[in-house]
């Protein structure tokens, strides 16, 4: 099961400069573990030591913020699109 993950500029040091990579997982947590097995260290930038999404990291599944879907337990299916972005100011 391949899911496309879009990587923001500041995390592309982990993906060899790739803007989008593929990973597998039934949940967001599983996907991030799989991502880390291919791009070592990236998990530590997304998830805190307490095991939560980093405050300044936003993750979207099919453009919806995962914090309103189930956070790390958000279920994923084939063909989903995952986007990672740093939190920036609007207004």
């Amino acid at each position: 099961m391949a899911i496309e993950v879009r990587i923001p500029t500041i995390l592309r040091t982990y993906t060899g400069g790739e803007k989008a990579v593929e990973a597998k997982g039934d949940t967001l947590e599983g996907l991030i573990d799989d991502l880390d097995s291919r791009h070592a260290g990236i998990k530590g930038r997304l998830i805190t030591e307490e095991g939560k999404l980093h405050r300044f990291v936003n993750v979207y599944v099919n453009d919806e913020d995962v914090r309103f879907l189930g956070s790390l337990e958000t279920p994923l299916k084939d063909g989903d699109s995952v986007t990672v972005l740093p939190a920036v100011a609007g207004g």
């Binding site: 923001p8 500029t9 500041i10 930038r45 980093h54 405050r55 300044f56 990291v57 936003n58 979207y60 453009d63 919806e64 913020d65 914090r67 309103f68 879907l69 986007t83 972005l85 740093p86 939190a87 920036v88 100011a89 609007g90 207004g91």
Partner: protein, 315 residues
């Protein structure tokens, strides 16, 4: 209607139906036309409330300098009020914002300090905080953390919507400072339990997310996720497509962030249609399209318009 001054005419904006874009008679969309405010944007409400609150606290005297990080609309609203009340205004603005916003600010008498494009408004916030620490006699209203920003919507936008649309099921607005969603959302939840509060967040080009590290990220102090039901990221392509659809089908000429909000509103509407539910969905028209003509958003193909927006702060 007659008012003693322009400021008095703020708010009480029309709520208009979208007979062509609403998917069915049972699932209806309603546009809150905030572009009808004195300077043409929803930010007039927050600007007036923040200045009035600072006056009550005794922070402002004629001649005092107000400082604010802004990508445009808040600055323009503050400038209009400051002009009338005799305050000096300095706006810290990212360099990748439209030329019209700069011209309007200058016309209203505000001074502009430019912050770097990379990092978007994060950098404007950082520069403004630095300037505030160097100039302790300046007053930074700080829209991202000022409770008066959300209070403006709790006391005005929310009650106006309930009065005009008592049957409301969904409220959709843009997520920037979060003031509109926090204030209106809290009021609506208190008066219509079960109402869905939906955030549409603009997704910009990569330059805007060009932070040096994650710890430079920013979440406005006003933000309380428990007010929201869901939050969507909307890219420039969808925002532009909906902005054009709104003017072509309903005659509403709005800015690009409104297109992003309409996209989220239509997404919710389609879910209701599929579920066989009735819905009355109110969304915010943040401003008119005038300030974005120079961005190319309204000319040529969608592909050309999207390319022209790359790297700009379009909301």
């Amino acid at each position: 209607m007659r008012y003693d001054s322009l400021i008095e005419s703020l708010g009480r904006t029309p709520l208009v139906g979208l007979p062509r874009l609403s998917p069915s008679p049972d699932v209806r969309l309603w546009a809150k036309i905030e572009s009808n405010n004195p300077t043409g944007s929803v930010k007039d409400r927050a600007a007036l409330y923040m200045i009035t609150a600072a006056e009550k606290e005794g922070l402002l005297r004629p001649g005092v300098t107000i400082l604010e990080p802004t990508s445009g609309n808040t600055g323009i609203s503050l400038a209009m009020v400051c002009r009338q009340r005799g305050y000096r205004l300095i706006c810290v603005m990212p360099e990748n914002t439209s030329v019209e916003r700069r011209q309007l600010l200058t016309m209203y008498g505000a001074e502009i300090v430019t912050s770097p494009a990379a990092g978007g408004s994060n950098q404007a916030v950082a520069v403004a905080k630095q300037l505030a620490s160097e100039n302790p006699d300046w007053v930074m209203l700080y829209q991202y953390g000022n409770p008066a920003n959300a209070q403006a919507h709790y006391e005005t936008t929310g009650p106006e919507i309930i009065e005009d649309l008592p049957e409301i099921t969904h409220f959709v607005a843009g997520l920037g400072t979060t003031g509109t969603l926090m204030g209106t959302g809290r009021y609506l939840r208190e008066h219509r339990p079960g109402v869905r509060i939906i955030a549409a967040e603009p997704r910009y080009g990569e330059l805007v997310y060009g932070l040096r590290n994650i710890d430079e990220g920013f979440v406005p102090e006003l933000y309380d996720a428990s007010v929201l039901t869901s939050r969507f990221s909307v890219g420039p392509r969808e925002a532009l497509r909906r902005t054009r659809q709104l003017v072509e089908e309903e005659g509403i000429f709005a800015g690009i962030s409104t297109g992003a909000i309409l996209h989220a509103a239509l997404g919710e509407a389609m879910k209701c249609v599929q579920a066989g539910q009735t819905a009355d969905i109110a969304f915010v028209v943040c401003d008119g399209g005038w300030k974005y003509l120079s961005t190319g958003a309204y000319a040529g193909t969608l592909e050309e318009a999207e390319a022209a927006l790359e790297g700009q702060l379009w909301a």
